[in-house]
């Protein structure tokens, strides 16, 4: 711990111990945090918030997001205003069709999201400069063992198959042994693989506190399946109305085939309008909701990195409507 580290991280180091005996263990926890690296695949509002929190806390970031900037991340807060300016100028350029603007548009398009945010990340916490990096290869080209070098992987906007591949890769890679008793990996029980989770028919996702499948879980599955099928991460303005119509058609069919009644989507007894849901599905991120979820997930990553506190297992849901955030295990019924 250098002096400047001490000063910058003082308030959070105090999270892990206040007594003299804990000094050595504080150092160890601090080491774990500062040696850790987290891989972020495809940035969204939520994962940007997570990354901001973890980078501030001293956890290095590796960003893999080859999507074009800024089109792919309209809701991401990094450089929000400059991004808006780019979009605005492009809108003008498409109207004017001026050659110069065409030129600048091409230059901008060369930027990937990862490249665009890299300087922002360094600026958030200069103590991490040199430890953050950009992964330029697309996800499909990354070998299984690649994922094993990270302490956590934060992924978003992936197809179901891609997510399954990464989650499988993470449990199959042997972890590097560290000479530190506290760092022995602790298994959180029960472990349910992502593939197994996805096997649970949604209609059966009920439990002691949930007589019908939880609304947020239903929404999440619906959106995941919709994006998977439509294979689109962004919608252009002109496409908006058509896209909404397509979503409504898809949602109706999806509910039938998953045996989900519309009651599962109701908000406190008020029926959910599928057209409104379509608008949300196409523009799903709202700043304060992303902030809350990014904070909660950041805490869970810190718990697992420091091995202080038990991180959430399996599913975590947040509803911006009432501010409740719940975690539960989703696994096939034994009988």
């Amino acid at each position: 711990m250098s002096h400047s580290h001490d000063d910058v991280y003082d308030r959070q180091i105090r999270l892990w111990g206040a007594d003299a005996q804990a000094s050595s263990s504080i150092m160890r926890i601090f080491k774990r945090m500062s040696n850790a690296r987290v891989l972020y695949i495809n940035l969204t509002g939520v994962t940007c918030e997570m990354m901001k929190n973890l980078v501030l806390a001293g956890v290095a970031a590796v960003v893999c997001d080859p999507r074009p900037y800024p089109d792919a991340v309209r809701e991401v807060f990094f450089k929000a205003s400059s991004m808006e300016a780019i979009i605005a100028s492009r809108r003008n350029s498409s109207n004017n069709n001026g050659e110069e603007e065409q030129q600048s548009k091409k230059v901008k398009l060369l930027n990937t999201v990862a490249e665009a945010v890299a300087p922002e990340i360094d600026e958030l916490n200069p103590l991490l400069i040199g430890r953050n990096s950009v992964e330029e290869r697309p996800i499909a080209l990354l070998p299984e063992e690649y994922f094993g070098q990270f302490d956590a992987v934060v992924a978003s906007r992936l197809s179901v198959d891609e997510v399954k591949r990464i989650s499988l890769a993470l449990i199959s890679v042997p972890r590097i042994a560290i000479d530190d008793k506290l760092s022995d990996p602790t298994k959180i029980e029960p472990y349910v693989s992502l593939a197994k989770m996805m096997e649970v028919p949604l209609a059966q996702a009920t439990g002691r506190w949930d007589k019908i499948p939880p609304r947020i879980l239903v929404l999440q599955r619906l959106l995941m399946d919709y994006w998977n099928e439509s294979n689109k991460t962004t919608i252009s303005n002109n496409d908006e109305a058509n896209a909404r119509e397509r979503f409504v058609v898809f949602a109706k069919k999806w509910m039938d085939s998953n045996k989900i009644t519309s009651a599962s989507l109701d908000i406190e007894g008020v029926p959910m309008n599928l057209k409104r849901l379509a608008a949300i599905a196409l523009h799903p991120e709202v700043s304060p909701t992303a902030a809350v979820l990014g904070g909660v997930l950041g805490n869970e990553v810190i718990k697992s990195l420091t091995r202080k506190g038990e991180p959430s297992n399996n599913v975590l849901m947040f509803s911006g409507l009432d501010g409740g955030c719940r975690s539960f295990v989703l696994c096939p019924a034994e009988n």
Partner: protein, 762 residues
């Protein structure tokens, strides 16, 4: 449909499309036009500003008097190293404004009123000339991102008086909470529940019978004042003949209470009387000598010759010997420790000799120094001497009061604290890092939790704006809507039984006995024949009840008044009067008098009970409370509000006993529970209270800390279908969250009954 959506799409910045699709459309316009007042731009404040900017808010004013410190950078993410020392509100407002998406209204009218403005106010919210009821009424709502109770109470009262909704939040480490306060919603206000403020330690515990490290840290801070302060008499350790005589008498009374035989007592008293005639402090002469050598309080600066440093070392050795050996021996001689578990051991003369050893290197100057190491007695002495030399050689005088961010002050207090711990055999010893945490009253803080509560606050803001939009000027309807839509949300470290990490509950009903929002009568017990109006104003009316500019009425007549346009001389004559001697019949047993404060539109009645016998109570093994000995605290500490002792003034069991209990030790080692230590001695209210908005450091909050057991592996089963809470029920539960859903009242009751601690944070 098609045209409409295209039209909105072109005028709505992409970053707001998510909001636009999630919220009913008039609400977005409401967001774009509403004025928001944000109090505090620290940890939570930075997160709030970002959320407000990215949600499209265009009219925000920010109040904060703080400047940026290095230790803010790990979470107050709008600040960079180059901003250290600059006003927080200014830097934060500018950074947030740059995030506001450009917006042109759909009708193409891009007038100046549409220009986004984030306005910083580098000032104190306690300043009534700037931040008052009419000022607040410009805004749709107020967001609190504060770090201290005084400012929170002030904003609470202003918002109640102005009828403006307040969204209050606090964090400590992983824990946090968010709530909404609004007069016409009929919900709990910030002051409905007693907030445990700062712990107060009886002077005798600090001066003679410390039993916990924190007592020694407080003593170290007092010693700092004694050695370096502008006014030596302001230190709790200051002694003159008068104070020594009073102490003697106190000791005699104590002996009385211990039930000595009459013969013993009379012998003791007579010896004491004999001694006290020519009694001299064991250390004050040495301290004065040392101060003079360091040029503190000298009218004419000293000339320093080549012998200065060795003279200083000798003076330092004499002072430290007096403090850590002679004084201890004297106290042992006074039978102070007859009943104590451990008799104190003075620091050895061998150790004290290191003071004059020019080769001694203080621990902080060694190559392998780490702030987490523990110093030996000799280390501590060398460190203290190096502080004296440092001050003597420095071109500017030392800070008159201890400051945790002053490097010399921190070294001095750490060394003094540990020497005292060695003398009284109090463990564990404190590293500089530990001592800083205690002395600076530092609360752990991390970016994640601030992000959570700030996000929740803005979500609550959406609910409030929606109600205002829907019900307009109908205050009752707006209030009812807020009560229905908004939530009191707890942010927890471990999941509840149902798996909640963020637990929303209905906004609690107000406490019918709240004097702030329910105008309830306050009952107050004190010695009306000893208390003066001045004591009452300082200790009770201002400190406990939070009045800023009080007017006191007895029998309908004003006996005291304060305010900008009021001549302080007018009622000055009443200040030194005993309560019973005040005009218009005085305030004696059974009297009811009024206090008003126009700056916060507050009016209360106080019903007085005369009480002149006070005892310190301890809880026996059977749980019954026993009165063990007379309360020897200052007269101004002996009072009760609302029939029971306010938490702030209650000495802890072990502090009162002067004996460390096993429980204290184990508790302090449990690093899974976040410990909050408030250690400002508050026997001199004017000192600790005056700079509260400033001095509470860069903390972010206050919080209700909920004690939850340490995590254990979950053995979740899938008994009832596919979903199961992913962890087993907590073993040691203080509060059953699940009851909140069904019965708020019951949960509230269990909250108080089962002793959920309410602790002031950062």
């Amino acid at each position: 449909m098609t045209t409409e959506s295209t039209a909105t799409a072109t005028s709505t910045p992409p970053i707001l499309t998510g909001l636009q699709s999630a919220l009913p459309s008039p609400l977005l316009s409401k967001i774009l036009t509403s004025g928001i007042l944000l109090i505090g731009s620290g940890g939570i404040g930075c997160e709030l500003l970002k959320n407000l900017a990215l949600s499209g808010f265009r009219h925000v004013e920010v109040v904060d008097l703080d400047t940026i410190d290095v230790s803010n950078l790990n979470r107050q993410f709008l600040f960079r190293a180059r901003h250290v020392g600059m006003p927080k509100c200014k830097v934060a407002s500018e950074a947030a404004l740059a995030m506001v998406p450009p917006y042109s209204s759909p009708d193409g009218n891009n007038s100046n009123s549409n220009e986004a403005a984030y306005i910083p106010h580098h000032g104190n919210v306690l300043d009534n000339s700037k931040f008052n009821v009419p000022y607040l009424q410009q805004f749709a709502l107020v967001l609190n991102a504060l770090d201290n109770i005084t400012a929170r109470r002030r904003v609470n009262r202003l918002c109640l008086a102005a009828g403006i909704p307040l969204i209050e939040a606090g964090t400590a480490g992983y824990l946090g909470q968010v709530t909404v306060i609004h007069k016409s919603a009929g919900v709990e206000c910030y002051e409905c529940q007693v907030k445990a403020t700062q712990k107060v330690y009886p002077i005798c515990t600090i001066r003679s019978t410390p039993s916990m490290p924190v007592h020694c840290v407080v003593w170290g801070k007092e010693l700092y004042k004694l050695c370096f302060g502008g006014k030596v008499e302001e230190s709790m350790l200051f002694e003159d003949e008068e104070s020594l005589r009073a102490e003697k008498e106190g000791a005699a009374e104590e002996a009385d209470a211990e039930g000595k035989t009459d013969t013993e007592k009379s012998t003791d008293v007579s010896t004491n009387n004999m001694e006290s005639a020519g009694e001299k402090s064991t250390y004050m002469d040495q301290v004065h000598n040392l101060r003079a050598l360091m040029d503190i309080g000298n009218d004419v600066p000293q000339s320093k010759d080549e012998h200065h440093e060795s003279n200083l070392r000798i003076a330092a050795k004499e002072a430290l010997t007096a403090l850590f050996a002679t004084e201890i021996n004297k106290q042992i001689g006074m039978n102070r420790y007859k009943t104590a578990e451990k008799v104190p051991v003075p620091i050895s003369s061998q150790d004290l000799d290191t003071c004059t050893n020019v080769d001694g290197i203080p621990p902080t100057q060694r190559a392998d120094y780490a702030p987490t190491e523990i110093w030996t007695p000799a280390d501590c002495l060398v460190e203290m001497v190096s502080c004296f030399i440092h001050v003597s050689n420095a071109s500017s005088p030392p800070l008159p009061e201890f400051d945790k961010d002053d490097e010399m002050a921190m070294r001095f207090v750490t060394a003094a604290c540990n020497l005292r711990q060695y003398v009284f055999q109090i463990e564990p010893n404190q590293s500089l890092y530990d001592a800083k945490g205690i002395a600076g009253n530092i609360i752990p803080a991390i970016a994640t939790t601030n992000a959570i509560v700030a996000g929740l606050q803005v979500l609550q803001a959406f609910h409030i704006l929606k109600c205002q939009l829907e019900f307009g000027d109908n205050k009752e309807e707006v209030g009812a809507g807020i009560k229905k839509a908004c939530r009191y949300t707890y942010c927890l470290r471990e999941k509840t039984r149902k798996g909640y990490l963020l637990q929303p509950t209905q906004l609690p009903a107000p406490n019918p006995n709240c004097f702030v929002c329910r105008n309830a009568i306050i009952s107050l017990a004190l010695n009306t024949k000893e208390w003066t109006l001045e004591m009452l104003l300082a200790r009770v009316i201002k400190k406990e009840l939070g009045f800023g500019a009080p007017t006191v009425l007895v029998g309908g007549d004003i006996v005291y008044e304060e305010g900008d346009d009021i001549d302080p001389e007018e009622y000055a004559a009443n200040l030194p009067k005993k309560l019973v001697d005040l005009p218009s019949g005085g305030v004696g047993h059974g009297a009811v008098f009024g206090v008003e404060d126009f700056s916060q539109d507050l009016e209360v009645e106080i019903s007085v009970t005369h009480k002149d016998e006070w005892f310190i109570t301890v809880e026996g093994d059977d749980g019954a409370k026993k009165e063990v000995k007379p309360d020897d605290r200052e007269e101004s500490e002996k009072f009760e509000i609302g029939g029971k002792k306010p938490v702030a003034a209650a000495p802890t069991k072990s502090a009162a006993d002067g004996v460390s209990s096993e429980k204290d030790k184990t508790d302090s080692k449990d690093d899974d529970s976040i410990e909050v230590m408030d250690v400002e001695p508050v026997d001199k209210p004017s000192v600790t209270d005056g700079n509260s908005n400033n001095a509470a450091d860069d903390a972010d909050s206050d919080i209700e800390v909920i004690e939850v057991s340490t995590p254990r592996p979950a053995a979740a089963s899938a008994a009832n279908g596919s979903l199961s809470p992913s962890r087993v029920p907590l073993k040691k539960r203080r509060l059953d969250w699940d009851r909140d859903d069904q019965n708020v009242d019951e949960a509230k009751k269990s909250k108080t009954d089962e002793g959920v601690e309410v602790i002031e944070i950062e």
